[in-house]
Structures are given as structure tokens and as C-alpha cells.
Amino acid sequence: MEVIKTVVPTSIAQGTPVRPTSILVVGATGTLGRQVVRRALDEGYDVRCLVRPRPAPADFLRDWGATVVNADLSKPETIPATLVGIHTVIDCATGRPEEPIRTVDWEGKVALIQCAKAMGIQKYVFYSIHNCDKHPEVPLMEIKHCTEKFIQDTGLDYTIIRLCGFMQGLIGQYAVPILEEKSVWGTDAPTRIAYMDTQDVARLTFIAMRNEKASRKLLTFAGPRAWTTQEVITLCERLAGQDANVTTVPVAVLRFTRQLTRFFQWTNDVADRLAFSEVLSSDTIFSAPMNDTYQLLGVESKDILTLEKYLQDYFTNILKKLKDLKAQSKQTDIFF
């Protein structure tokens, strides 16, 4: 039998040593989380996913070969069991839009981080938002910033990754409505956002995780180019081959709506989300220079997917599928 490389026991507690290839992914069902899980599985890690108990569980994670454990960040007593035997925690979780931010994004995270520290987790990877330290007026940004500081104070070996935006989000926001000939909501804001493909985020995350130079560092991942809403819509129109039905909401209206919703408790969360879009209106360029980061990680900028290529691939595929569907449905037309 082969002699395997000896696993160095890294857990202080008694019992079996922790394998350096064991990962816990929190928020594994999310847009970013699932890409992190896939990447990890393909690279040979043993992946455990923390998901909330649901009547219809997300089985695709188990299909890919990850193990799934049930816990809820709003119930801290469920957390410690999920961390047993884990070397690295990757935190991609955030509250759902319909839930209040504070429960998951602050209290839940604090509980998770404290547990991780107590149980001797070797590495904690946290996803934050670019420039979260510059916008204390936006609750989500403020919370992310405070979480960053909390992690740094615990003494855990961390890597914090600040993100600008996901290309995947644009599909639902712009590409699908254009294809379905529905209305597209845009603003006249001059904001430019440097979207990035979540698969690239996942890939770079693992490169950073294994790189000692990224230990106890705060990195920012920004896509290759920053786009305005208008530019994205134009690109989608060109690739879809049809015009979009754009309804432009002036930024001023957004601001007013936000003040209004603040008065009502139940719409407080909506108000928080609207505040976010205000940030996007004020920060003219939501991006960051990536050369130093690429150099640190040993990655080449040409390996990062551009938005043009991403959307091109998407439209090519979806239009082909729709054509096939249409062809299929034609075949089932029966005439008597």
C-alpha cells in the first residue's frame, strides 16, 4: 500500500487530527457559494455545506459529492457540531432579501466566528463588499465592515475578500427580461461596476487560500472592466438581437422612496436595500486596481473572464436552447 504524506495533527482537542483538506462552506446554496463548493470538490477537498433545514432540501450539493449538515446561523446552538473536524471555513452567507439584515449578517456571523475561534479553525475566509468602510450609512456595508474588524481582532488566520459585483446577477436583472421582452429597470446613474464571474471568484479564492502571502490580508477582487447600467443593457441588446424595454428610474426618485419607506417598520429592510442602490449612484466607479492582487496570487489578467465573453456565451447557449425548444414544440403541433 502507498505511504501517504503524514497529516500533522492541528487540532488542540483530543481525538483524530483535522485534515487540511476539510472545508465548511456557509451559504453553499447561494450564487457564490455553489461555485465555491464545485471548485473545492473538483480540486479534491472534502466539502461540508451548512444549510438551513428545509422541507425541500437543495439536493444538488449532495449530487456533486459534498456532505450537507443542517444548522441555522440565527440559532447559535446549532453551529458547533458543524465545525467538528473542519480545517477551513469559507463564509459566503448573507441574509435573504426578505429577512432583516441584523439577524444573519451580524448576530449570526458573530456566533459563527466565535465558535470557529473556540474550536480551533485553522483558516477563515470571509467575503465582504468593496469600500464597505466608506459607507457607514448603508446598514449592510456597516455590518460587513464591523464583521471584518471582528474577525481581525479574534486572532484567527483569515483572508478577507471584498467583492464588487457578480456577472451572474445580471442575467436575471437584464438578460432574461430582454429575452422575454419585459421591462428592464435601469437608472440614469453614472455608476460603473466591475462585475466578476463567480467561477473566477471561486478559483482565485482557492489560490489565495493556499498562498501564505494572503494570510491575514484583506484583498479586493474586481472584474476586468467597470460597466454602467446603460452599457450592460446595450451589450445585452446587441447579443440578444433585440431592443430592451427600458424604464429608467431617476436616482432622485430612489432617494425619496427610501425616505418614505423608513417610516414603516416592516419596510425598514427595503429601505436598507434601497440605501445600497444609493451608494451605487454616488460611487462613480465601483472597482479597484487588480495588478498587485494578480501578482500576489500568481494569476494572469487574461485568465479572468470578461463580461462580453460571459454574456456572449450565455446568449449563444440560451438562444440555441430556445430554438431547440421551439423546434420541439412545433413538432408536437397536431393538425386534424
Binding site: R19, D42, L325
Partner: protein, 467 residues
């Protein structure tokens, strides 16, 4: 555009095993391919299964026990078959419905019987079952399996010797009768126990004897759909030359001749002679085109024999006895059928190394002679590290010394499934040795994983085929 359709496609894409329409892991045709993973609970096997699932393949796993631990270890949609590789019937049911096999099982104990069962007999059982399955499929559509061997000659009776001509010849242009010339004689006949035997002696210097036949293949078969010959012979340790003649049948003076050497072992053996081994007798001639072959000749010449390589007291290398059982042609193909994970042995304790390598080699040889497309991967000592980080070296010279991670080996297996450069090749693979400054190795070319990660085809295309 139907409005509902787009939204549905989106949902489907998200929940679908293969993921979003364009994702890093999409492999065209994966959904139509079923892969049998033997050894799915091993370190490499587990990662292979996950990688296959991520890419949208259908996966079948052969496991020994069906208990909860095993079920938890494997993804849900993997079809589990309970059985043992040493048992042909469980292998049969496992192979049914599969297009490819990845064999990463190895004996878990140090008992020799286990080694033989898993690393040797298990491989044989799988190759036999695979061939049987394809033959069955072919029969049901009244055709021939594209993976089965073509029978060219089976030597079982006097009738089968028809068409075979025994000839003598010499390499010297002028033959001067010499008083030291004790002559040459050979004959092809059926022995008492019903075997076809070609035997004789060649004492003439520079002389040779041969049996030759104009091939008559079944209707519709041509040798260009085959990769080489498989001969089952009892050669007594001698080596023979196989000569193929190509050219227009009408005018044999236009024939071109190609030759390859066939070595035999003491006792019976099956020898694989790929067409790629044949060289033209006249160096100016073009490479062998199997389609044009019309005559096959087996020649014995004393000048190239290794002395003392024989048995039964026949120590004179100018004698020979060749018992011929059959000649078959091995089918060609685009892709590999079975991927076998073997080992280099450098990670095994010296006391057990010889045993393990012997069993592994026997399994490898059985796979090579089966007629199926094969890829034999021999990794260095396995390490439990994430894959895709370090450059890999692919070599065929038994020179590698570094280790490699299980995930990288799994990646190679998965990538080899559809790669035409992987068919019929055996190779070692390990990490690149990062040497001290000034001490660099220039020989071995390392392949760094990049984003596209198509390192396998360029790495394998420079390796020798049919090894």
C-alpha cells in the same frame, strides 16, 4: 420568444447537475456517457466520482458493501452495484450499460491473494465483461462489435494450414555451397496433440525460414480499422520477424515489405504487435498502410537470436519450434475505453514492492491484450493535497521520483476519457521536481495547470503510443 421558457430554462440550469449553460465544468456529451468507477471508495476513486458528477456524467460504482457509510460517501445519483471484482458475474452486471471504465481499485491488504484478485484478476474480469457486453449489444443489432478482435487465423486442424507456404531464403546475395553448411530445414504441420507447429533448424549462415499466407479477411473487413495483431503462440523464447506485404494483388513485383520483431516467452504467450511497430524494409518506402496488406509472413532467422534464452535443453539458437494457436487483429478507435490506475512502486515498502508490481503488471498486460482502448496511468506516491496547483511531469522512462496528489490523478483520469491522445498509452506521472538554483533538470517537460487546464493532450501527444 415564449416568456415562460426562458425562466424555466434558468431554473433547470441551476438545479441541473451540470450547472449553468456555460460553466467551467461542462463536457459535451457527458450526459450520454455512463462511466463505471471500480474502486469508488478509494482515495482517488472518491474524487473521480465527484469530478464526473460535476461534469454531468452518469456514474455507476462497483462497491463491496452497501452499508450506510458507503452510501454517505458517494453522491446520491450514483448508481451503486454491490459485488467484488474477483467475481465475474458481479462485474458483468456492473459493466452493463457503461461506455467507459475507470479502474482505480487496488488491494487494501498485504495478502498476495488479494493483490492477485484486485490488481490482476479483477482487471481481466472487467475487460472480459466489457468485451462481452459490447458483443451482446452488437449481436442484438445483428452486427459486429466495434471493439472485438478480428480472427485472422485459428490453427486447430489440418484444414487451417491450407494456404500457408513454407519457404527458405538467405540474406546473402550469393550462396556458395560450403562444406561447413549443415543445411536448413523447416516444416509446418499438425502435431500429435492437434497443435499447429512450425519447427526446424537453420544452420546455413545468413539463412532463414518462414511461413507465409495471402490473407483472406471476412467480407467487408479491412485492416485499416485495426491497430495491430495479437498472436497467441508458444515460441520457446525465440524471437521471430513478422513481415507484411502491401501493394496491388495483381502485380506482386510492386509489393512493399514491412517488418516488426516479435519476442516470445518460454511456454505460451499472447504477443501484441501494433502496426505502428512495423518499419519498411526499404527505407525509402512510405509508412505501413494496413488497408493494402495482402500477405502475412512469420520468419525465423538465427542471427538475431539471444543465446541461452531457451528451455528444454534446446540450447542451440538455430533450432526453433513455434506452436501457433491463433492470429487476431486488434480494433482501432478514437477514444480510450478503460483507464487503469497502476503505480510506479516508489511509494511502496521495499519488502512488498516486487509482489505488488508483479500483480499490477499482470493486470496491465491483460488490459493491453484485450483489444480495448486503454490508458494506463502510473502515479508516483499519492499525497492528500488539493489538485491543480503544481506542474506535472508525464514520462515513459521509469525515471520519476516525486509524488502527486490524488486529486491530480483523478483529474487525469477524467480528462483522458475523451482524449484521443490518451488511447493506448501507458505513462508515469508526478509533480515537477523543483530543484535548487543551478541544478535544473532540462529533460523532463512540466505542464503547468492554467485556467483552461487542457494540459493533458499536449503532454500525451509526445509520448509513445502502444506502450
Amino acid at each position: 420568444m415564449p416568456a415562460v421558457a426562458v425562466a424555466e430554462l434558468e431554473e433547470e440550469a441551476v438545479l441541473f447537475r451540470g450547472g449553468a449553460p456555460m460553466c467551467d465544468f461542462a463536457v459535451p456529451g457527458a450526459q450520454d456517457t455512463t462511466v463505471l468507477v471500480v474502486g469508488a471508495t478509494s482515495r482517488i476513486g472518491r474524487i473521480v466520482v465527484r469530478k464526473l458528477m460535476l461534469r454531468g456524467y452518469n456514474v455507476k460504482a462497483l462497491v463491496r458493501r452497501n452499508d450506510q457509510e458507503v452510501i454517505d460517501m458517494l453522491p446520491r445519483s450514483v448508481e451503486i452495484v454491490v459485488g467484488d471484482v474477483g467475481d465475474p458475474s458481479s462485474v458483468q452486471s456492473a459493466v452493463s450499460g457503461c461506455n467507459k471504465v475507470i479502474y482505480c481499485a487496488t488491494a487494501r491488504s498485504t495478502i498476495t491473494g488479494d493483490l492477485n484478485r484486485v490488481d490482476n484478476q479483477g482487471v481481466r474480469n472487467v475487460t472480459n465483461a466489457f468485451q462481452d457486453y459490447y458483443n451482446q449489444l452488437a449481436q442484438s443489432r445483428a452486427g459486429k462489435s466495434s471493439k472485438s478482435k478480428l480472427l485472422i487465423e485459428k490453427f486447430k486442424s489440418a484444414k487451417s494450414l491450407q494456404g500457408w507456404e513454407v519457404r527458405q531464403g538467405s540474406y546473402f546475395q550469393d550462396i556458395y555451397p560450403s562444406r561447413f553448411d549443415e543445411g536448413t530445414d523447416a516444416a509446418l504441420e499438425i502435431s500429435e496433440n492437434g497443435q499447429a507447429v512450425f519447427s526446424g533448424f537453420v544452420f546455413t549462415r545468413g539463412g532463414y525460414v518462414e511461413v507465409s499466407k495471402r490473407l483472406s479477411l471476412p467480407l467487408g473487413s479491412t485492416l485499416d480499422r485495426y491497430d495491430g495483431f495479437l498472436l497467441s503462440v508458444g515460441g520457446n523464447g525465440r524471437s521471430y520477424v513478422i513481415i507484411l506485404e502491401t501493394g496491388p494483388l495483381a502485380d506482386t513485383s510492386q509489393s512493399k515489405k514491412y517488418f516488426a520483431r516479435m519476442n516470445t516467452k518460454v511456454g505460451f504467450c499472447r504477443v501484441r504487435v501494433p502496426f505502428s511497430d512495423f518499419r519498411p524494409v526499404n527505407p525509402q518506402d512510405p509508412p505501413l498502410d494496413p488497408f493494402l496488406v495482402h500477405t502475412l509472413t512469420i520468419r525465423f532467422e538465427p542471427k538475431k537470436q539471444r543465446p541461452g534464452d531457451s528451455s528444454q535443453g534446446a540450447s542451440d539458437p538455430r533450432n526453433f519450434q513455434l506452436i501457433m494457436e491463433f492470429i487476431k487483429a486488434l480494433p482501432t478507435g478514437q477514444e480510450t475505453d478503460i483507464i487503469l490506475v497502476s503505480c510506479t512502486g516508489s511509494g511502496i515498502e521495499p519488502s512488498r514492492r516486487e509482489q505488488v508490481l508483479k500483480a499490477k503488471k499482470a493486470g496491465e498486460d491483460a488490459l493491453r491484450r484485450s483489444g480495448l482502448g486503454y490508458t494506463i496511468v502510473r502515479p508516483g506516491p499519492l499525497q492528500e493535497e488539493p489538485g491543480g496547483q503544481r506542474a506535472l511531469i508525464f514520462d515513459q522512462g521509469n525515471r520519476i521520483s516525486q509524488g502527486i496528489s490524488c486529486a491530480d490523478v483523478a483529474d487525469i483520469c477524467v480528462k483522458a476519457l475523451h482524449d484521443s491522445t490518451a488511447r493506448n498509452k501507458s505513462f508515469d506521472v508526478c509533480y515537477e521536481h523543483v530543484s535548487k538554483q543551478g541544478d535544473e533538470l532540462y529533460e523532463l517537460v512540466a505542464h503547468l495547470p492554467d485556467k483552461a487546464n487542457n494540459y493533458l493532450a499536449p503532454a500525451l501527444s509526445v509520448l509513445e503510443k502502444n506502450t
